[in-house]
């Protein structure tokens, strides 16, 4: 079976490395971009089955900016996105007690860092299935 291509956009190499190992092991092909600019370029030059997107990058919530750009692109916005973030606590400031999921894109899910391998693979799988379902409905 052909490997599903996954892109990780995250500026912290330690997280990237840990997540990549887990995905590689589960037979995903993983590419990495360490900043939003490279990430968007990669998304445009290659077809990815899934994007793992960090929120707090660079000078602030640059991941949100990436999500907005993806959302504006009719082709890119079809890609399912798994948001991986350590900022739930700060967002909980605004919504006390609630696990916050901002729903930035049509097909997305949110996981808090550090990402547990079992949960990561489960979510990735669920997102891919959800996206495939939407595609076949649309066709």
């Amino acid at each position: 079976m052909e490997q599903t291509k996954v892109l990780i956009i995250d500026d912290d190499p330690d997280y990237v490395d840990g997540i990549k190992s887990i995905l590689n092991k589960a037979n995903y092909h993983v590419d990495v971009a360490y900043n939003p600019k490279d990430g968007l370029a990669a998304l445009k030059s290659e077809a990815y089955g899934l994007l793992l997107l960090d929120i707090m990058m660079g000078r602030g919530a640059e991941g949100v900016m990436v999500a907005r750009k993806i959302n504006k692109d009719p082709k890119l916005r079809e890609i399912p996105v798994l948001i991986i973030t350590g900022i739930r606590e700060q967002m909980a400031f605004l919504f006390p007690g609630q696990p916050v999921h901002p729903h930035l894109l049509p097909t997305d899910a949110l996981l808090e860092k550090p990402v547990d391998p079992g949960i990561l693979l489960e979510k990735v799988d669920a997102l891919l299935k959800e996206a495939a379902g939407k595609k076949s409905k649309g066709a």
Binding site: D12, D14, K25, F93, F95
Partner: protein, 364 residues
């Protein structure tokens, strides 16, 4: 406070205004005057003085009324009343209404300067206190942000690397080696949880809780809280009995935080009760309140710990076996309940058990 303190004098007698202005001007204050109470209040709103001298006996609105208006407008302004000898008793009345001091007529220039100097010092202290309080609040928020980033993210990165490592080496590692990594992971996971709890304690901001208030069912809140504590209770063979006296009103609140508050209390009851013990939850409407009581027959709280259990990071002497404590659960709970205009009280005896009672107002 600006470098030149601003003083407003309100008196209907021209001669008093003149002499006061004269006395104080030479001491380097900026003086504004008003001939009656109403004008005085208007002037106060435009000029925002540091100090206000106000005559008690004036035509139009009285000095006492002016005092009330000052309090309403800005309680940090320091008011001093000017009064005739015959009206010392009304001066006392004025002090009760918030006047900082009184100046009996006739007074010498020195008396007036002395009182003014003291009042200015008082004003400085009040403003400083407010500033310090604001600073403290800011530090708390900054601390939360720093803890979040500087502690959480490296811990998370270590954990993520360990996840990756286990994944890479799954076939290579011996059981003993896997076990070691697992222990590493469990310790790190505990640390991350601790940081999260601390963050939670710092970030429970009453004003933000209140923003998403709505009708909240007490019965449902209790049911959800019990459900979340049940696994722990089952492990310890503790029965949680809930008895609700229907009809239970709906309160105005935020379910998520109320559940959290109850989970803290019920969770504690389970934590501090021996194997096979009992936790009882009773809820009923009483007058304008809903009462929720959580009672256990556990280890109880010692008399010396009792006054402090709602303090941030307070950890009492009675230690549950094999249980972890952060010392913030009850502090958070209290803050949540108070945000709901409710109250929480505790009654406990060492060795006999504890009873927590939460009171929440029923909206009219």
């Amino acid at each position: 406070m600006k470098s030149t303190p601003k003083i407003l004098i309100i008196d209907d007698e021209e001669i008093v205004l003149d002499s006061c202005t004269h006395i104080l001007k030479s001491s380097g204050y900026q003086i504004i005057t008003a001939h009656d109470g109403m004008t005085g209040v208007e002037t106060m709103k435009q000029e925002n003085p540091d100090l206000i001298f106000v005559d008690l006996k004036m035509p139009g609105i009285s000095g006492l009324e002016v005092l009330e208006k000052i309090q309403e407008y800005d309680a940090t302004i320091v008011p001093i009343v000017i009064t005739g000898f015959a009206t010392v008793s009304s001066a006392v009345e004025a002090m009760k209404k918030g006047a900082y001091d009184f100046l009996p007529k006739p007074f010498t220039p020195d008396e007036m300067r002395l009182i003014t100097r003291r009042a200015i010092d008082k004003r400085k202290l009040v403003l400083e206190t407010i500033m310090l309080r604001k600073e403290k609040e800011m530090l708390r928020e900054q601390f939360a942000a720093i803890v979040s980033h500087e502690l959480k993210s490296p811990l998370g990165a270590v954990q993520q690397s360990l996840f990756g490592l286990v994944s890479d080496l799954e076939e290579t590692l011996s059981e003993a080696q896997k076990n070691k990594i697992q222990r590493l992971q469990s310790r790190i996971s505990d640390m991350i949880k601790l940081v999260n709890t601390w963050l939670r304690a710092i970030s429970v901001d009453i004003s933000t809780i209140r923003e998403n208030f709505g009708p909240t069912s007490v019965a449902e809140t209790i049911a959800k809280a019990v459900e979340s504590c049940q696994p722990h209770a089952i492990r310890k063979d503790i029965s949680i009995k809930t008895s609700l006296k229907q009809p239970l009103a709906t309160v105005n609140g935020n379910e998520v935080t109320l559940v959290e508050a109850l989970v803290n209390i019920i969770g504690n009851a389970v934590k501090y009760t021996q194997m096979g013990g009992q936790v009882a939850i009773l809820a009923k409407a009483e007058g304008n309140n809903v009462l929720i009581e959580v009672k256990d027959n556990g280890v109880g709280i010692s008399a010396e710990d009792l006054p402090h259990i709602f303090d941030d990071f307070y950890v009492g002497k009675t230690k549950p076996e094999n249980e972890r404590r952060s010392g913030v659960g009850l502090a958070i709970t209290k803050r949540i309940i108070e945000a709901h205009d409710g109250s929480i009280t505790v009654d406990s005896e060492l060795g006999k058990g504890s009873s927590f009672v939460i009171q929440l107002p029923i909206p009219k």
